[in-house]
Symmetry: D2
Subunit: 352 residues, 4 copies
């Protein structure tokens, strides 16, 4: 059961049908989980903004860097050109090159890309080295290609899956989470979907309730521990017709949503947001010298900002509710968020 099923309603805007990134029409997610032996606890999560040849039909996109202690691949070209030309892949820190290589494979092989000689793979990561034998770099190109291949619309599995298999968040087992908001018609009617890979720390708050404090577990409680380290990857999709500039602004709001869960963007946390619009496509080649676009005016973006904040906050909390206790590297066990106890706390704070 997800938090909403327990009556925990984050924010004021309505969710999409699935309360998932896949509420944005056409968006697909594919995940491959590596849970092998004592200490392989990692995986791959792939997000495809649309069904076609993404290199030939690029999406407007932007990347916001909340805290840059991370190894995300593909930043500068997205920043310069304002477009995304590969799916987004999430994995563990030391497997970024493998995933990038796989995205190159994927792109070079796609029909229509026979002449492509340059590809900008976008790969996000968090460090699952607490539970996973990260130095072993167990993710292969095939795992990544499988995740891309398996991608579907519809519900998205959360928790210990894909790139969230081995992550830790607020001292509890983290993972993949997703959520969405659908703006009411007077606010534009657009959908904003978010998917997160949660692996960071701070002082957990669930819908404003100080769960971290109540459970006695939060960063720097006594000493300068490393519990704040990790990272949070946030992917934001929308069908609103935003250009790269406004997508970057939207991305920044996802970071605000992370803040609302009690995240502190600690020194060692690589916090990145990738924001993508599916509303229109920028063809790789065109006989036209101009692209005819209809772009949302600045005046109309604020409800989308609110949606991104809410959906990110909820996606993170969703990841914690879905994740399960996991034993991994060196026998270390990271426990799931104690949901029953959390619900009691929520009730005590009049949020059930």
């Amino acid at each position: 059961k997800r938090p909403r099923d327990y009556g925990i309603k984050i924010g004021v805007l309505p969710t999409g049908t699935l309360n998932a990134i896949t509420d944005v029409p056409g968006v697909k997610v594919g995940q491959v989980t590596l849970k092998q032996g004592d200490n392989i606890r990692t995986g791959v999560t792939a997000i495809l903004p649309h069904d076609g040849n993404l290199f030939q039909q690029k999406c407007p996109a932007a990347i916001y860097i909340g805290n840059g202690f991370g190894k995300l691949a593909g930043y500068s070209q997205v920043e310069e050109l304002g477009t995304l030309e590969t799916p987004v892949v999430l994995t563990n820190t030391l497997s970024v090159p493998t995933a990038a290589d796989a995205l190159i494979d994927y792109t070079l092989r796609q029909p229509g890309n026979e002449q492509v000689r340059s590809v900008n793979p976008v790969v996000g990561e968090t460090n699952d080295g607490g539970l996973n034998d990260i130095r072993g770099r167990h993710v292969t190109r095939q795992h990544v290609l499988d995740a891309l291949q398996k991608a579907t619309t519809g519900p998205v599995e959360e928790g210990n899956i894909g790139a969230g298999t081995g992550t830790v968040c607020f001292g509890f087992k983290g993972g993949i989470g997703t959520a969405s908001r659908k703006l009411p018609a007077p606010l534009g009617g657009y959908t904003v979907g978010v998917l997160v890979q949660t692996n960071f720390g701070g002082v957990l708050q669930i819908d404003g309730v100080p769960v971290g404090e109540e459970l006695g577990r939060y960063s720097f409680k006594e000493t300068l521990d490393r519990s704040g380290d990790g990272s949070c990857m946030m992917v934001v999709l929308t069908d609103a017709p935003l250009d790269a500039r406004n997508l970057k602004r939207l991305a920044r709001r996802a970071f605000m949503g992370m803040a609302k869960t009690g995240g502190i963007a600690a020194n060692g946390s690589g916090d990145y947001v990738i924001a993508i619009s599916t509303a229109y496509r920028i063809p790789h080649e065109s006989k036209a010298t101009v692209d005819a676009l209809k772009l949302l005016r600045n005046d109309n973006v604020s409800p989308l900002f609110m949606a991104a904040i809410e959906a990110t906050e909820e996606a993170i909390i969703n990841s914690l509710f879905a994740a399960q206790t996991l034993k991994g590297e060196q026998g270390r066990v990271v426990e799931a968020l104690p949901v029953e106890k959390v619900l009691e706390i929520m009730k005590q704070y009049d949020k059930k």
Copy 2:
């Protein structure tokens, strides 16, 4: 009474003695309030990092732009050189040039600055045009010089004062607020102080409690209103020995604190953070070619990040509790946060 006097304790870290920006040793604040006739409702708030000649003894500093729809003066030089050479002045949007001019006056006149031919005044602003006859530009250079002159250490007045005289926050009367955190010795023992000028919107949360929803007042409740517009200016001081790079990181965390109050950084909100260290000074001129510095290592900044988040959140809430109902421009009345009602809500949510 401030929120803490009612038992509202935001965050997990201890406050400084005054729970104010002036807990950072040497920091002074001076305010001038213009409340005249029917519709002059504005003012000036000045923050002085130290007592000396700031142009000759510059402070390391950084400015983070959360949402750049604003008119802050002085950004690029602080970004390029990493230093602040004038006090920080806050005022209303259309009085930024006047305040900048006054800071130039102030600096040119200071003994020792007889040869100075270049000054980078740093002025922040929010738009108080809802209550104030902002088009009248009633702030004069003398008002700004008075604020600088009056600056003192010690408690800082909050609410409808200085640059917060005419501001509106979450639909209620906003204003000046301040707070601080003093890190326990194992976390470094440093102090972080924050002062805010609150004039923005979103969905108000007080210590996580959904006060905005409970009171039925929040942005975009029904339509795309302009309630999110405004701005939030945040000034962060610390005695931790940070360089400009880490000060910019610290500044970003203040923005996260704003997010925790329910701010959404709406399109029309100019949200800026100015972060300054008092730990050391960069002399304007020196016979030495190098500056010998002791700079906090990246590994040790995270507790400061947490402190900046908490202090900013609390400073914003403090501003709301202190502000009082005000009538201004065109007879418009903006009511104070209904504190009694808020306390009931807080109690209902088990936070009194």
Copy 3:
């Protein structure tokens, strides 16, 4: 006579009719020169992208900061929203607040702006304190309003005029310069116009010829002098339909043009580029939620980049040829570029 009249042809692209920023249709320039008494040597240069109400009909724009040791006003809002809502005014460093105030006056007073309560004045500056009594701040709001009022299409006066009255460049008298390029039809047919206020140092090269070396005058010839300080303001206008992202890229190329003259962007040089498109307008208010735009594709911007580089290089050289020997502050004399001698040098290097 301008360098081209002497046969000095910078670059490979053709100029516009006037070889001036005003070759971009609709662009107007107005200048006011203050040359009074012994030591008032300053002024104002205003650039108007179009004839209408710029606040109501904003232009897409971007600002690139080559070296941020300067006091340009208006950066963050242009960066955030991608639009310019006032004319651009250039003046001296300490008169930026006055000029900003005048732009607010200008905007508030324009018919149709009666309800405007927020204005983002864009003011660039260089420090003419070597020849001008800059501490006296002799520029008044009226001077700025006069420059705006006087603005016309057609030829632009260069040299010791307007904001270039008291500037120094490569050790010689600098000033205002302008140039343009008109792309051949196969490259798009667009015009790029540049206006510069030159006040910086380095090792002067004219069309690649080492004039600074030949004349024995360049920065750091023997010691760490301050000859590199100053600043260069560059304003780039184009009728190509670029959005803010591509305008920022265009702006960066103007900085490359400055590099080609031998500028080094010394520590003390505030080098900024403001790039504006006149191809379309973004209305301040609109009933539509989207703007329908035709934007030049990334693939087609490179010739514009080349045009911006060339026009900026030439505009700087034009400023030097036009400027005349001037005596000012404390009797200091800055000599004009010795044109006859320079032409001999050019001839020696086979460029006459």
Copy 4:
């Protein structure tokens, strides 16, 4: 013979002994060239700032993005933390993941790094797909490890070698180039060394002489060709005690040096500068909470800026002089710069 051997002296500052990046004490370069069969024309160039364990003893560093159409790995962490923790590797666009993986291998295996679970590999690239079967991705991890292994101090081979094996510059064969400047004692006495991988276009100028025009070969001569595409990677090393902020400023000046060769940073050119100081090290772990540093004051950086501009300009020209005619992919031949003819042109322009 290098251009200087022909009497072509770029700039006014003296070179280091070798006129190479390795003039900065301790810096090593290693290169592996892949020239196999008809169409494998690529390679690897590695730059090591010091001899030790770079992960444990990080160098202050910064990356400047001139034009972000490229796939450089490692940007955001360098930007956030201001340090470099792996050697810099240059290769072709589609081999970035392989090189990044190899740098992870290299780092994980180094004695003392047994507990390392996070590595930020820095890899630059240009696209050699005109001469090289880039889609074949022929660079292996072992090639990269070999380049790292082979790295030495002393002279650096230029031209068709390492990562410059298959590159094209201004329509001629490009490659690896290097140069340096040693500041006279009154300017600080520091050394700045630059290494470039040249693969871009524009209108070639050699020491200001319009060689591209004279040879009738430059970008957009008639149509919107793709000759400007490619990329330029620039690596700047210095023993001056700069922090990340001033290293970023230094990096920006290298981009100005590129401009002086006639580069235009065309849309398709990924132009990046990585700047590194060897003057001090930031230990990965330390019992101290602060680092005691002596940092060059802003006032003293300008001669370094000039040095970076000059050395970059010369390194690019050096690459062109060293590169040789090469036949590759699909039988395409790219001719070397016709040195004899160029020297005649130089002579004609009074520069021999």
